[in-house]
């Protein structure tokens, strides 16, 4: 049974702990006086961050946890403060005294520590990587995040679904369409409505376009991190073309506010022309890049995530599929009818993740062709019913899970698990056979989100 997420919420008598698996959702209640639960981390290592977050957010005690360090709350966050509790209403916090964070470290003769971040050398998001090194060899890596924590979950409480939309679409800029589709599905569940097929096709088209932009960027950046800059020039040109197409279709280069319930006119002829052009460019790119031995020398056997580990750590998305896990949220009738083919590689290294991206990009182009339709239907939203709703979407990184509770017409609890949240916890497993100079390459091959992870 695949573990998906674990989170808490406050109910009248205490807290409810919700654990989401592939096939079922389990609930457990604890009292305010004794908010203690047992850890799941022994069976599902990916539960560790969920449980540490639960402690920071609500003060829930994980009795037998082997890692009780704070996760979201950093060195200067006030102690014993749990912002997701309903009685916490402050909107300004003063910095408390500095309490050092104890990193996971390997020590010994000649072993030294390398701390990287939160601010990195390139134009990327902040996060900290803490290495234990024996010369160039990485003995251990601890990934530490939540520098970007914006308190999104708390911010959305008390808002209606439509008021929450502009914030939800800005949780992770690279995955905005996926976040909006999760929101859309929750709106449809709450209003007990069906989406007209034509609108569903438009949204699916935008999701594949977003995936194409993300993959094109990565197909350039991954070789660039191995010192092959020409690929970046090529990939970033195609990504820019695709981003301009996104603006043509939605009025925004990332597709903020793109998912709504009105179908808009698409000039299918020019779009199809562009798809053909993109297809040829990608074929050319593949043919060219596959022929550069020095590049594949860096990619092959670098950053291996074994299938066994990929399953054990509940990984999702590109990372999981590159390790031989056949898991994708798009394996339903609608997608299969429109040409979805699951990408898959087995070697689990940087090459595998690169090749999965190539396969997915080509499949996305195919699917976009099938999703194209000139149609201007629309849907009027009905009344929103209170309840507990959840939805899934396959973002360009992997499976996205969103849960929203609605009470009296407004959001009572918002929870979202970005695919990055589980995948980040598996990144340290990829380092054991490589040197520290391979780290940027391995990290880029996974291309996980920091903003979506930190919330």
């Amino acid at each position: 049974m695949r573990f998906i997420a674990r989170y808490a919420k406050e109910i009248h008598s205490g807290f409810e702990i919700i654990t989401v698996y592939e096939d079922e959702i389990q609930k457990e209640s604890v009292s305010f006086e004794e908010p203690a639960i047992e850890t799941l981390a022994k069976k599902y290592p990916a539960a560790i961050w969920f449980e540490r977050k639960m402690h920071d957010d609500f003060g829930i005690i994980i009795e037998d946890a082997f890692d009780k360090r704070p996760l979201v709350h950093q060195e200067r966050f006030p102690k014993d403060l749990h912002p997701l509790r309903k009685d916490f209403v402050k909107d300004e916090l003063a910095y408390a005294d500095y309490v050092a964070y104890k990193y996971e470290e390997i020590s010994g003769d000649g072993v030294f520590q390398v701390g990287v971040g939160p601010i990195h050398a390139g134009i990327i998001e902040p996060g900290h990587f803490h290495f234990s090194q024996a010369g160039e060899d990485m003995l251990h890596l601890e990934v530490r995040h939540f520098y970007k924590n914006r308190g999104i979950e708390k911010m959305l409480e008390g808002k209606t679904l439509s008021e929450a939309k502009p914030i939800i679409e800005r949780i992770s800029g690279n995955e905005t369409i996926a976040y909006q589709i999760c929101w859309r599905d929750i709106v449809l569940q709450a209003t007990k409505q069906e989406l007209p097929l034509a609108i569903k096709k438009r949204h699916a088209l935008l999701l594949e376009l977003e995936r194409s932009i993300h993959h094109l960027t990565d197909l350039g950046f991954i070789p660039n991190d191995a010192g092959f800059g020409a690929a970046l020039a090529f990939g970033s040109k195609l990504a820019e073309d695709a981003r301009r197409k996104m603006r043509e279709l939605t009025g925004h280069r990332f597709g903020f506010a793109a998912i709504d319930f009105d179908n808009k006119y698409i000039d299918t002829a020019t779009f199809e022309e562009w798809l053909d052009e993109l297809w040829h460019s990608v074929e050319f790119f593949e043919d060219w890049i596959i022929d550069i031995p020095s590049l594949w020398d860096r990619f092959d056997t670098t950053g291996i995530l074994l299938l066994k580990k990929a399953l054990k750590y509940s990984t999702v998305g590109v990372v999981a599929r590159a390790s031989g896990v056949t898991q994708d949220r798009r394996t339903d009738k609608f997608y299969l009818e429109h040409g979805f083919v699951m990408a898959s590689e087995v070697s689990g290294d940087v090459s595998a993740r690169f090749k999965v991206r190539l396969q997915e990009l080509k499949n996305s182009i195919e699917m976009m062709r099938n999703f194209l339709e000139e149609d201007e239907s629309s849907l009027d939203l009905a009344k929103v019913y209170d309840g507990e709703y959840h939805s899934f979407c396959e973002s360009s990184i992997g499976e996205l899970f969103m849960a929203i509770d609605i009470k009296d017409g407004v959001i009572e609890r918002f929870f979202v698990r970005d695919p990055s949240f589980v995948n980040w916890q598996a990144v340290h497993l990829m380092m054991s056979r490589d040197i520290i100079a391979d780290f940027p390459l391995i990290n880029k091959s996974c291309d996980l989100s920091y903003a979506g992870n930190d919330l």
Partner: protein, 168 residues
Amino acid sequence: MIKFWNKRIKLGTLTENSELDRELETIKKEIKDNVNKNFSGSLAIRMVDSGSCNACEAECNALANPYYDLERLGIYFVASPRHADVMLLSGIMTFNMTPHAKEAYAQIPEPKWVISLGDCPVMQAPFEKNYAIKAPADEHLPIAHHIAGCPPSPLEIIQGILAFLKKI
């Protein structure tokens, strides 16, 4: 590789100046004077993300693509604040990032400027003030110039940097 060079020659130069063209001609001289005076010939930018959604970073990365190619103007992104003239600040100044953003600013040698990028640092994005947010940024850092947008497009960023250069 031969195939690649064939394609490269066929494609030619993709870099666009379009509407910026004329402006660039005049500004280029100004940049040169300005940049020569203040920045010894080139402007070095250190990008710091204090809690964005990553869209601003994606647009800054796009500045390097063949269409915009920012470096042709002598403006480039550097790896360390100690190499920088200007800090380009995106994001909403989270509780956890604010001390690090201030530290990065402290590490930039004088003279130095901060340009805020996108709607987050000035609290114009849809996010609401809460316990985890320390924006607006001008309460923590001296902001010399602001580039608006959510996110600003690469072209808007270039125009914003040029406006900043004219200003100082």
